[in-house]
């Protein structure tokens, strides 16, 4: 082997342990999300929200130590997520983790955090397994997993009732994006809506990243549903609305908090007018305590839209910071504090149940009116 190559390889091996044992006195909050790759856009949003919260805390002067938000990249890849979790676990200055984004990443990574007793709050993973795995017999570790985002069951059922009772619609087509989030939402909606006596005219999955849904919409249109419920994220939702309009398919679109972003309105344009989007908690722009968040976010990151889970990440960070003020920078104490947390923030009041799921199950329905979201319930 070439000597240069050999040197590179040895250097590579040697760099690993050195790199992960740096020490400093700053207290750190880790944010483990996809920073690169296909979901990088959303992950960067979560990171921005966490950094914003930490920056505010530093400025407020309520901590005797400097705080740092430290970002880790999981690339939305489960095994990289576990690797990143191990890197988090090797840093003793980290008191808590905000992350991960995808359920597929959060679930295996949670085991690593539990082993090191690091509290983890997911701002975006909605698969029930994430918290329920802690109750299983095979889980011999401490319970360290929390999440501020409600599992899929809450919103889907709410939308089912809303459409059935308030809008008096009886025929709905359902589409989902074949992700744990989107499919979970859609299934919950379907069960509730058909349980109430509504008719689901069709139930289809689409491929994430796909952009042409005209064939599907043409088929759905033939069933003449009164509305279309979509479980998924804003980009696919916007394209569905846009393409339905192009096909002359006049219907009402419904979706969840993953779709409620300004980008939806930007991309779908007029096609988004009249669409209903449910969100958890009280919508940020209508909550006095949340206004500053949006303003500060826009001020710090001009030209960037708030992504669907950014305010959850901001809230999660503030919950951790609140615990830090009360008990100081100690993982075990922070964990204890989180279990009995009662935090009033931009999502309303957050408390965790014995699994670690948020008890805050308030849902608000919004509708796009004149290019803005208005509350309708």
């Amino acid at each position: 082997m070439h000597p240069l190559l050999r040197a590179v390889c040895l250097g590579l091996l040697a760099a690993l342990p050195v790199a992960c044992t740096q020490k400093s006195k700053t207290v750190r909050i880790a944010v483990s999300v996809p920073l690169t790759g296909d979901v990088g856009t959303e992950g960067q949003g979560v990171r921005r929200a966490v950094e914003l919260a930490v920056e505010e805390a530093n400025k407020s002067g309520r901590f005797p130590f400097p705080l740092e938000a430290r970002a880790f990249d999981d690339r939305a890849d489960p095994k990289e997520a576990v690797s990143a979790a191990n890197l988090v676990a090797s840093d003793p200055n980290i008191v808590a983790v905000i992350g991960h984004y995808n359920s597929g990443c959060s679930i295996p990574a949670a085991q690593v955090y539990a082993r090191s007793g690091i509290p983890m709050i997911s701002p975006a993973s909605t698969n029930p397994k994430l918290t329920s795995q802690q109750l299983e017999e095979s889980w011999v570790l401490p319970k360290t997993v929390f999440r501020v985002v409600p599992t899929d069951d809450v919103q889907g059922s709410f939308a089912g009732d809303f459409i059935f009772d308030k809008l008096n619609m009886r025929k709905i087509a359902v589409i989902h994006d074949k992700t744990p989030y989107g499919q979970g939402l859609a299934e919950q909606f379907k069960d509730r809506f058909s349980g109430r006596g509504g008719q689901i005219t069709s139930f289809d999955g689409i491929a994430m990243g796909d952009r042409d849904f005209k064939a599907l919409l043409t088929r759905i249109k033939a069933d003449k549903p009164q509305g279309v419920y979509f479980g998924g994220l804003y980009m696919e939702a916007a394209l569905l609305m846009r393409q339905a309009q192009e096909l002359g398919f006049k219907t009402t679109f419904f979706s969840g908090d993953g779709s409620k972003t300004n980008e939806l309105i930007k991309v779908a344009g007029k096609a988004s007018e009249g669409a209903y989007l449910s969100i958890t908690g009280i919508p940020v722009e209508h909550l006095a305590s949340a206004k500053p968040f949006l303003e500060k976010y826009n001020e710090k990151y001009p030209g960037v839209d708030v992504k669907p889970f950014d305010h959850f990440a901001y809230e999660a960070t503030n919950i951790v910071l609140d615990a830090l003020t009360k008990v100081g920078p100690d993982r075990a104490k922070v964990l204890e504090e989180l279990r009995r947390t009662r935090f009033e923030g931009i999502l309303g009041v957050t408390e965790f149940d014995d699994k670690g799921d948020t008890k805050n199950k308030i849902i608000t329905m919004t509708q796009v009116k004149n290019g803005e979201f208005a509350i309708v319930n």
Partner: protein
């Protein structure tokens, strides 16, 4: 019947975009026998160039001339990117073993999409509509003016390409190189220049496809190239890679297939890629070199 016509139209529009991308794969493959993995990023960069040009044209209030400028900018940008990529990352590997340029292309592809992510934007950006969109109804078919534009532009570009390859001198030189680069060199053809030209043309087609993509779907993002790239490559192989007519045929076939699967099979929209690949495998089992491909001796 009404639904069928609408679906047929949906499939043709989708297919025309696939065909346009597939042509770029096939042109390069025909001459260099390499899968240009970075082609999908040319598409993405083209879309971003088109976005920049569109914003300018909107500011200046240009209508139809604006459309021409946007296409020109995107095609030129993506074409030049193709030439530069070939020069820096592929040409040094021309006599290396066959998989080396493929790996280089994968590396370039990763670099380009990450470069846009890092230095241009990691957001999905709305793609402005230069022309006011109009919904037309042709008989029972709802056809947006945009869809017609896409279909027409794609067809126009394909015809121009066909004429160029078949009728012009440089087209003849391209065909000669595709046949046998070494012999073509002996006949006084500057193979390097022809290869660079091929990348220019292929990149330009990808750039045009990028703009069409952006216009059609209304938004662009750093990772938009990957999926259409894989699909178009599949289309090129389906038609017989290296064969220009084959790429067009494969593109339309794939578009129609996907639409048929999503439009007629219950739950088909989540299985449509499976259907497309099963058909591809089936075709290759019967015709191992694609529908119009010729049997060539190959080595890895």
């Amino acid at each position: 019947m009404l639904v069928f016509l609408q679906q047929l139209f949906n499939g043709l529009v989708l297919g025309s975009i696939y065909s346009l991308i597939a042509l770029g794969y096939t042109l390069v493959y025909g001459i260099l026998m390499m899968i240009n993995f970075a082609h999908s990023e040319f598409l993405m960069i083209g879309a971003f160039m088109g976005l920049g040009a569109s914003s300018l044209c909107l500011n200046w209030g240009l209508g139809w001339p604006g459309v021409v400028i946007v296409f020109f900018a995107a095609m030129l940008g993506a074409g030049l990117l193709g030439v530069i990529t070939e020069r820096l990352a592929y040409r040094p590997l021309r006599h290396a073993m066959r998989l080396a340029p493929l790996i280089s292309a994968i590396g370039v592809s990763i670099m380009l999409s990450n470069a846009v992510f890092l230095w241009v934007s990691n957001q999905s950006l709305p793609f402005p509509a230069i022309l006011p969109e109009r919904s037309l109804t042709i008989g029972p078919v709802a056809a947006g003016s945009l869809q017609l534009l896409i279909f027409a532009t794609a067809l126009l570009l394909m015809i121009v390409l066909h004429l160029m390859v078949q009728k012009t001198k440089i087209g003849k030189a391209m065909r000669a190189c595709a046949d046998d680069t070494a012999t073509a060199g002996l006949m006084g053809i500057n193979a390097d220049r022809i290869i660079a030209f091929t990348f220019l043309v292929g990149g330009a087609l990808a750039g045009a496809a990028g703009v069409l993509n952006g216009m059609y779907y209304g938004s662009i993002k750093y990772n938009l190239g990957f999926l259409p790239g894989v699909k178009a490559f599949t289309a090129a192989v389906l038609g017989g890679i290296g064969n220009i007519t084959g790429a067009v045929l494969g593109g339309f076939l794939l578009g129609l297939l996907e639409v048929a699967a999503a439009g007629y099979i219950p739950n088909g929209s989540q299985w449509k890629d499976v259907v497309a690949f099963v058909v591809l495998i089936g075709v290759l089992l019967i015709r191992p070199s694609g529908i119009l491909g010729e049997r060539v001796a190959e080595k890895v």
